[in-house]
Symmetry: C2
Subunit: 425 residues, 2 copies
């Protein structure tokens, strides 16, 4: 199917065939959901040994009674778990509560309102504050910026990460820009892994930006490979050390999609100066995070080998679901001009770009046929996908047959929306 070359007659014929197919789906009264980027019950069960793992021993390796108050920055063994996730040293890590999103909010609030270095370094002192948002991206990042009144500036994602020419030009030209959101491995939603060159250029941004510029490096899927010999993300920490920009990057991770989502442990990796600023802020709003949950997690995932073995079990459950999505897309759209997508080998999403102006209609058609998709636009700041193209597909929760069934509907809806759009143009 090549719409750009098709005659109106050809288009009308396709429309009629596709509509018949679509009516067939309507008749089936499906109820399928590709919206939620969360683990399935089967995946969650992989970590059910967490409850009861302590067997009465609540004491950490350094003698800390995890049941009592304190420990603002986390147990040593929990720091090591965070270090394993982020590929840094335990001393680079602060341990948070159950949510890396909360840590990101707190660090951005601290940087904006109170200053990570001192009160003079607070972004709010400099008037308008902007952040670069590679698009499509993660809606919760946008919500944090919106809440703090931080203006969001879109930059396109490529197969190698954000368009770095555009990023560098913006940072050079606009001093209101205080940072950039990054999901560097299996990016949400496109699934790409930032190339070594991209990582290096992001680490170098601190040289052209002001002192208070901070890359928010949300490495949410750092160990979430679907295949053996998965791509390796270059170390942003090492890159910042080469460029002498260590304060310009703050890294985040959590166990949310490793153990129990929402009942895990979150981590931030930062330079000594940033750690001091973050801890000063955290000390005003908590006595400390849940250390009992920290020690549960360190007993469950005592070293890197245990972590990687555990992630292989997730991959075994996720892989067939991703294959169902990708083979449906290939089968329907290879050699056509109907859409573009990456082929992620990790993470939680497949991102599909329709032809211009077809995403909302595709989502609407799918919803009517009983297949729930994330609202078009959700992957853009302010919910505005100017070209109305991007749709995020999250296949982790449905069963494989459900993913197969939902993708049949999806590809038909993409085709139908595209053909109708072309007919109307």
């Amino acid at each position: 199917m090549q719409l750009d070359q098709a005659t109106p007659e050809q288009l009308r014929q396709w429309e009629s065939q596709l509509d018949a197919e679509y009516q067939g789906f309507l008749a089936q009264k499906l109820n399928l959901d590709l919206t939620r980027g969360k683990p399935s019950a089967e995946q969650l069960s992989l970590s059910d040994a967490l409850d009861g793992i302590l067997k009465g021993n609540y004491i950490a390796a350094d003698g800390t009674d995890t049941r009592n108050y304190g420990g603002l920055d986390g147990l040593p063994e929990a720091k090591q778990l965070g270090a394993n996730l982020l590929g840094v040293a335990a001393s680079d890590i602060l341990v948070g509560g159950n949510s890396s999103l909360t840590l990101m909010f707190q660090v951005m609030l601290a940087a904006h309102q109170f200053g990570l270095k001192d009160s003079a370094s607070a972004w709010k002192n400099e008037g308008e504050v902007s952040f670069i948002c590679p698009v499509p991206g993660y809606d919760r990042h946008y919500t944090v910026c919106a809440q703090l009144g931080i203006k969001m500036i879109n930059v396109a994602m490529t197969a190698n990460g954000p368009d770095m020419d555009a990023v560098e030009a913006l940072v050079k030209a606009d001093k209101s820009i205080k940072g950039i959101w990054c999901v560097p491995k299996y990016s949400n939603p496109t699934g790409v892994v930032y190339s070594d060159e991209t990582v290096d250029r992001i680490a170098a941004l601190g040289k052209i930006a002001g002192d208070n510029f901070r890359v928010f490096w949300d490495n949410a899927y750092g160990v979430h490979d679907l295949i053996d010999n998965a791509p390796v993300l270059a170390s942003i920490l090492e890159a910042t050390r080469r460029h002498n920009t260590e304060d310009s990057v703050i890294q985040f991770a959590s166990t949310s999609k490793i153990t129990h989502a929402g009942a895990g442990v979150a981590f931030v990796a930062a330079s000594a100066a940033n750690q001091a600023g973050i801890k000063k802020f955290l000390n005003t709003c908590t006595i400390g995070p849940d250390k009992v949950n920290q020690i549960r997690h360190t007993r469950f995932l005592p070293d890197n080998a245990a972590l990687l073995a555990h992630m292989k079990k997730h991959a075994a459950l996720l892989n067939p679901r991703f294959e169902a999505v990708l083979s449906a897309l290939s089968g329907a759209f290879d050699g056509t001009d109907l859409g573009y997508w990456e082929k992620p080998v990790g993470g939680y999403f497949v991102s599909f770009d329709t032809r211009k102006g077809c995403a909302q209609e595709t989502v609407r058609l799918a919803a009517e046929a009983g297949v729930k998709l994330t609202p078009a636009g959700a992957t853009y700041p302010y919910g505005k996908d100017a070209e109305d193209r991007n749709i995020r597909i999250a296949p982790s929760v449905p069963t494989v047959p459900e993913v197969v069934a939902a993708m049949k509907v999806f590809v038909t809806c993409v085709k139908l929306a595209s053909v109708r759009k072309q007919l109307a143009s």
Copy 2:
């Protein structure tokens, strides 16, 4: 011992006897600690059944899989646990993470910066913002205000709660006042329970204050009775309903001193309008709190009877420690003019007021003799106890013999500091 009536010769004689006693303590090289308002290891062990309590069943009563994301406002059964703690209905409750201090920070941040009703209701819009702080009080409350740039205004605590004549006069006269911190039962540190009249007058403040006035009702010790037939705190919720001021009070509690400190569950009770404002804010900084820990707690404390039975076990451990403190104070100071203290029957603290200008010196003397006390002034905003009188005694962690030994040193230090001060005056 009555210093005001003593002759210089008498004072010199006492000083010499007390100094000899003090030198004896110095020789013992003690190492005792009365600073930390936290549970002892024995108390923490009362809740060790929490780990393993789920026995593989992570599903809440309403079918929610607690292992997955979501549930911003908490499981129904966790709301009921919060309702049991605060004496309200489950529908009044939002469930937070492991820290009521974090919830208090978040609610105060939301009220100050973003507005609980809408952005127009944010306190920051009104210029200077002040908060009433009954003194002595809880230093972490002051830290929250200080971080947000909120000016703190002291009001004296009485045996019935804050001096309400002073509070009402301030609220009437000063529109910058946006609220008051309250620890209404076993107040930190004086241990008093607010009288019914005080509760009623606090609930009525909303009628004389502006729309955005909020009482922060930190009911941290609501079920932490040391005796049977403990005093009953009047319901602030019912009082606000009588006065039609329901939006003016926000209540907080947690299980931190019930189960494992720092690994518990926190709660906020608020009107529907306040709940909406709080949830709107929370939605920008978290996907939701740890529901697995919620369900652990609800299985461990399934109803009010279980909760009260559990608290009796805490009381059995705490009571001898409080008795050791109170009998030492009575033995040393009854009938003297050397100090004033309440006799709390719950909570975590005994608060002792020395004669004017003797608190810092008492703490210094005790420290040199190996007895660590909370720094004088810590119980006041900005760390400033203008009369230098208040000392907070926290006896929960040391053993009873340790409390007895520490109190011997304490009373000698109070006497010595007082006599020397009188001699110098």
